[in-house]
């Protein structure tokens, strides 16, 4: 699983780099626009450790925001599955709000909360929260009639059992959604850092952009890709373990 993801990333990354060099040499662009391989290598040696810590910083915020949004989506999804007005209100609100680009709201968050940790965390959580919520609401409000009928007929059904049945029946769907939203969490953190934060790899990319230093950006992208792959592999492994445990207990 790990090697597959890393291979995929390396293939995509090096195809991208090759295209850049092709453009550079075909169009005879200067090193200022697209740096030479040697310059990229030297920049890598200079910034690798600093950027690695920056990526770790970003990744920790992404994981925290991701967990936060999973918890929030679970709670709201449980309420949203209800057939009473609260449930339908939450469902409609979720569908409408998710259509609004969170990045457009991000400046307001930075103005109100400043450029520190809380803003990055909030934007990260918001970016991966809505896709999670919509999936969770969909899964938790869809009855598994052939299992639930018995509990309803014998008056044993309660909300915990209902959620357990629906989550168990859709565990592979839930795992896929969580892994998918992991990428969104990392994207959300980097975007928020890029917009206004004062730390993280997104912040470093913004500085590199101001310096027009493509070599630094390429090094940052390399580290982001490796760390994202590792995080997604961890999530996939966790999902498989949960499925295995549920089926063996």
């Amino acid at each position: 699983m790990l090697s597959r993801r890393i291979y995929q990333f390396f293939i995509i990354y090096f195809i991208g780099i090759t295209i850049l060099f092709l453009i550079k040499y075909v169009l005879n662009l200067s090193d200022y626009v697209i740096p030479s391989p040697l310059e990229i290598w030297q920049t890598g040696q200079n910034v690798f450790v600093r950027y690695l810590f920056n990526v770790m910083d970003t990744l920790s915020i992404a994981i925290l925001g991701h967990m936060l949004s999973i918890c929030l989506a679970t709670v709201v999804g449980i309420i949203g599955r209800l057939t009473i007005w609260v449930g339908s209100f939450i469902r409609v609100a979720a569908y409408n709000i998710q259509a609004y680009p969170i990045v457009a709201v991000a400046p307001i968050i930075f103005i109100l909360l400043g450029d520190g940790l809380s803003s990055r965390l909030l934007i990260t959580a918001m970016i991966c929260y809505f896709p999670l919520l919509l999936s969770f609401i969909g899964i938790l409000s869809e009855p598994v009639q052939e299992i639930e009928h018995f509990y309803e007929a014998t008056l044993r059904m309660n909300w915990r059992l209902q959620v357990k049945i629906r989550a168990f029946e859709n565990i592979s769907k839930i795992t896929t959604v969580i892994v998918g939203s992991g990428t969104l969490a990392i994207v959300g953190t980097i975007v928020s850092e890029f917009i206004a934060a004062n730390a993280g790899i997104g912040h470093s990319i913004r500085i590199a952009l101001y310096q027009s230093d493509l070599a630094k950006i390429l090094i940052a992208l390399f580290l982001i890709g490796i760390c994202t792959s590792l995080y997604l592999v961890c999530l996939e492994w966790l999902g498989l373990e949960v499925q295995k445990r549920l089926q063996s207990t």
């Binding site: 052939e146 299992i147 018995f150 007929a153 549920l246 089926q247």
Partner: protein, 234 residues
């Protein structure tokens, strides 16, 4: 349980929302006394719809369904499953009321469930799944159990053993057996309601079955006669 149990459907009329076709029009039917009663008819004629009216799951219909000495009505069908996180034994233990726990072993043996009692539901064959599902309903409190194809995919010998066991162990309960099998309906049920389809008059016919049970002789000629009557009633 009372021998006076009665479920009476009077002038039942029903159309599915958004449809102009009437599934039932002024239909009447009586189920009286404990034992096996059958609901028989071609697919799509309204057997499940009628069953859901009896359980109260379907409400927007015309007419009246009245019950005397019938408290709890349960409905079970052949596609039901038990949750995937539990084995058959654990599920039966967890869902059977305290007062009926002592019946579990007897029923497990009679239904031939012993070989797979520690298995998970998904590992069972369709027939085993249906037996398991029926067994858990029989362990509940009920007066009338509506069995919608509940013994589908069960082999004939096991099916007969199960029905005969049910007739002795639950002789004071009422069962409404929905099936497409003419022979088993004619053989085991005492009263058979044949739903004939919406364009036929009368829409239903009530016939007497052989009500075969342990210790009772079965007259094959009469059984054949009943089967013919059912087939001709279509």
């Amino acid at each position: 349980m009372s021998k006076n149990m009665l479920l009476e459907c009077k002038d039942i009329s029903f159309k599915y929302p958004g449809s102009n076709t009437e599934v039932f029009k002024d239909m009447g039917y009586r189920i009286s006394g404990p034992g096996f009663h059958a609901l028989f008819g071609p697919s799509g004629v309204g057997k499940t719809t009628l069953a859901k009216m009896m359980t109260g799951d379907l409400k927007n219909f015309g007419g009246e369904i009245s019950k005397t000495d019938i408290g709890r009505v349960l409905y079970t069908y052949n596609l039901e499953r038990i949750p995937g996180w539990t084995t058959v034994r654990e599920h039966l233990a967890a869902t059977t009321p305290e007062s009926h726990q002592h019946k579990i072993d007897d029923l497990v043996a009679a239904f031939g469930m012993q070989p797979y009692i520690t298995s998970r539901f998904s590992k069972l064959s369709l027939g085993q799944q249906n037996r398991t599902n029926l067994a858990r309903y029989l362990l509940q409190e009920f007066d009338l159990l509506i069995m919608d194809e509940s013994l589908a995919n069960v082999d004939e010998v096991t099916k007969e053993n199960i029905i005969l066991k049910m007739k002795t162990a639950f002789s004071d309960r009422c069962f409404l057996y929905i099936s497409h099998n003419v022979a088993e309906v004619a053989k085991f049920c005492k009263q058979i309601l044949v739903l004939r389809g919406r364009h036929k008059t009368p829409q239903t016919l009530s016939l007497l079955g052989q009500d075969y049970s342990n210790g009772k002789d079965l007259d094959k000629k009469e059984l054949e006669q009943t089967m013919l009557e059912i087939v001709n009633a279509f």
